[in-house]
């Protein structure tokens, strides 16, 4: 199971990187999200997958009776998902605003901050 998930993580990240290499901002957004989900899956796998029971200590005991599932990765991933979603929504709005203001979805044509015909450096001291 770990191996299958490891391959899946690899696929997610490869797809994310591929989309990030695109010039279109919407594709890049999708790429970032898929990349982020690949990372979440990786943390989940890194916490070791088991078919064991939920990590609840039975009443009357001080520690769980047998092996239990690792509860920490879920906490980590939940945090990462929330943060990733916030970032995604910001970038989505930003992309929309940039489309409105700059009339560009293509990063090649977004040259306001770095003009294409940049002036030559001054020659005087």
């Amino acid at each position: 199971m770990d191996y299958a998930l490891a391959v899946l993580v690899g696929l997610f990240i490869a797809l994310g990187v591929y989309l990030l290499l695109s010039r279109s901002i919407i594709r890049m957004l999708l790429g970032v999200t898929i990349f982020g989900n690949g990372v979440n899956l990786l943390i989940f796998t890194a916490g070791r997958l088991t078919r064991e029971v939920a990590p609840i200590v039975p009443a009357g005991l001080d520690q769980p009776a047998g092996p239990i599932a690792n509860p920490l990765p879920q906490a980590l991933i939940l945090t990462a998902i929330v943060i990733g979603f916030a970032m995604f929504s910001f970038l989505l709005v930003l992309a929309y605003r940039a489309y409105q203001e700059l009339d560009a979805d293509n990063t090649d044509t977004m040259r306001l901050a770095e003009p294409e015909d940049a002036p030559r450096p001054p020659l005087s001291y």
């Binding site: 970032v32 990349f35 982020g36 943390i43 890194a46 901050a113 450096p121």
Partner: protein, 528 residues
């Protein structure tokens, strides 16, 4: 019930009241940001509250530094779970010192902003976002847990997203797209390496990682360290991952650029220092050739970029990257002196780069231009401004007696020792550091000559004087006043650097030999 058979996992006693000083700066910043969000529409009040909150944070951090100087690193663990299960906040001299510098710079920026912000900008949440940014930066400096570090990175990132688009001009949106995507990708890469560390070592507590990393598979660990270098190098704008910085730092108002230049990239190099020197020193040794290459390239290429640039704030952006190269040089040197030099440089860069952008903002307001080709003759109009800019340029290049000289001295000393011991690559690094100083001096003094010394714009005749805006009294008092105070601080720190030297040496010793750090968290007996 066999209570005795179980190892204790809970903290039974309440945290000592004095230890709260470790998290108090964060609590204050977050509460202040929440409060300011509610009060943002009221006139004058947000700036006042933000200023008072930052002053309280500075007081806390001074108290924290005093305790660390006496007792060594301090730690506090959340949620009653003993480390490594609870989330630890561990402050050593570097963390607390950088947090103090960041808070100082934030206070100056809040004062400066009073001169720059007009009535139509009221209610945009600027002060709340500044405090949120400070919270993220302070958290990153003080935390003792890798996942927590990631969370603070994201707090910092979302606050800086808000700040960079404040005003929403098309230029800013363009810069924000590049800044946003690349920085979010960098933190995601950090999360990726963090997941791998957890899978390999089973812990995310920094002190615990130090102990467990010694017995882990070195090949896997070095792979993770390389990923961390990629992620933090991107955040720090090290060559070749520096493209986002000159594309975005000049787009927001100057006061926001100044805050970014002082805080954001410095957190990136601080994380690199912590992760490679303290947490994974064995992997750092393996990665040393890569680090050397990155440091040398950053040192040389950044000031060349500044020389070729005509946009004033973009040129200063390249100088910021050059500073990152100097810190990387310290990380690439395997000695304690190099680490001390790198840390001292971070402290210097937090103050100096902010001051440079603040003065650049004043210049832009006086001339009404962003391009140095259209500026000139400012020397006759404003002598204080020209003196400030020259002092800051000299400080950036590392000319004695300004603050920038001392870390460079430590770095050169550490590099020369390695070079004399027969390591030719470190000899090249020393040459690169020297070349960086000369090139930065050329870039900075050219900017100074173009903006201040030349009588008019480029190509204009001798007698053609440039039209300058006369500054309002408010702008003069708040803007120039704040810049003068920060520059005076840099000059004074350069003239009396003994305290900083002592702090850098103690901090470097703790980073290279983390015994005191681990003991502070309370894991000394757990490590074999």
């Amino acid at each position: 019930m066999d209570h005795l058979a179980l190892p204790t996992a809970m903290i039974e006693t309440p945290t000592v009241l004095a230890d709260w000083v470790i998290v108090l700066p964060l609590v204050l910043a977050l509460l202040g940001a929440a409060l300011l969000l509610m009060l943002r529409q009221i006139r004058h009040v947000p700036a006042l509250i933000a200023g008072l909150v930052v002053i309280a944070i500075i007081a806390c951090e001074v108290a924290l530094l005093q305790r660390i100087a006496v007792e060594g690193p301090l730690s506090m663990t959340m949620g009653k779970w003993l480390p490594p299960f609870g989330i630890s906040f561990t402050a050593d001299i570097f963390g607390a010192g950088f947090a103090l510098a960041a808070a100082l710079v934030t206070l100056i920026v809040i004062i400066y902003a009073e001169g720059e912000r007009g009535p139509d900008e009221r209610g945009d949440g600027f002060h709340a976002l500044v405090l949120l940014l400070l919270a993220g930066v302070t958290g990153a400096f003080l935390t003792g847990d890798l996942f927590n570090l990631y969370v603070w990175f994201e707090v910092m990132l979302i606050a800086s997203f808000g700040l960079i688009v404040t005003g929403g001009r098309p230029l800013q949106l363009d810069g924000a797209v590049k800044y946003g995507f690349l920085n979010f990708l960098a933190t995601t890469l950090f999360l990726l390496s963090l997941g791998l560390i957890y899978g390999l070592l089973g812990t995310l507590n920094m002190a615990d990682i130090i102990g467990k990393a010694t017995t882990a598979n070195p090949a896997a660990l070095t792979g993770i360290a390389a990923l961390l270098l990629l992620a933090f190098g991107m955040k720090a704008a090290a060559f070749p991952l520096n493209a986002w910085l000159p594309a975005s730092y000049h787009t927001p108002p100057a006061v926001i650029s100044a805050l970014f230049a002082g805080l954001l990239t410095k957190v990136g190099v601080y994380a690199l220092l912590r992760a490679l020197v303290q947490l994974l020193p064995a992997s750092r040794d393996i990665l040393e050739p890569a680090l050397l290459l990155v440091a040398i390239a950053t040192l040389l290429i950044a000031p060349l970029g500044a020389i070729a640039e005509t946009n004033l704030r973009r040129a200063i952006g390249f100088l910021v990257i050059g500073g990152i190269g100097a810190v990387l040089a310290g990380i690439a040197l395997p000695s304690e002196g190099g680490v001390a030099g790198a840390a001292l440089y971070v402290f210097h860069a937090i103050l100096t780069m902010t001051a440079l952008y603040l003065v650049a903002g004043l210049i832009e307001r006086r001339t009404g231009q962003r391009d140095t080709r259209l500026m000139g003759g400012l020397y006759a109009a404003s002598t204080p401004l020209s003196v400030l800019f020259l002092v800051l340029v000299l400080a950036t290049a590392g000319v004695p007696p300004f603050l920038g000289f001392w870390p460079k001295l430590l770095l050169l000393d550490a590099g020369l020792q390695q070079a004399l011991a027969g390591d030719w690559a470190d000899g090249v690094l020393v040459l690169a550091l020297l070349a960086n100083a000369v090139l930065t001096l050329i870039a900075g003094s050219r900017l100074w000559a173009h903006v201040f010394w030349r009588s008019g714009a480029e190509g204009a005749s001798e007698h053609e004087t440039i039209t300058l805006r006369t500054p309002g009294a408010r702008e003069q008092w708040f803007g120039l006043g704040a810049s003068v105070v920060l520059t005076a601080l840099i000059v004074l720190a350069g003239l009396w650097p003994n305290l900083l030297f002592e702090g850098a040496r103690t901090g470097a010793a703790d980073l290279v030999d983390p015994a005191r750090y681990i003991a502070a968290v309370g894991l000394a007996e757990a490590t074999p």
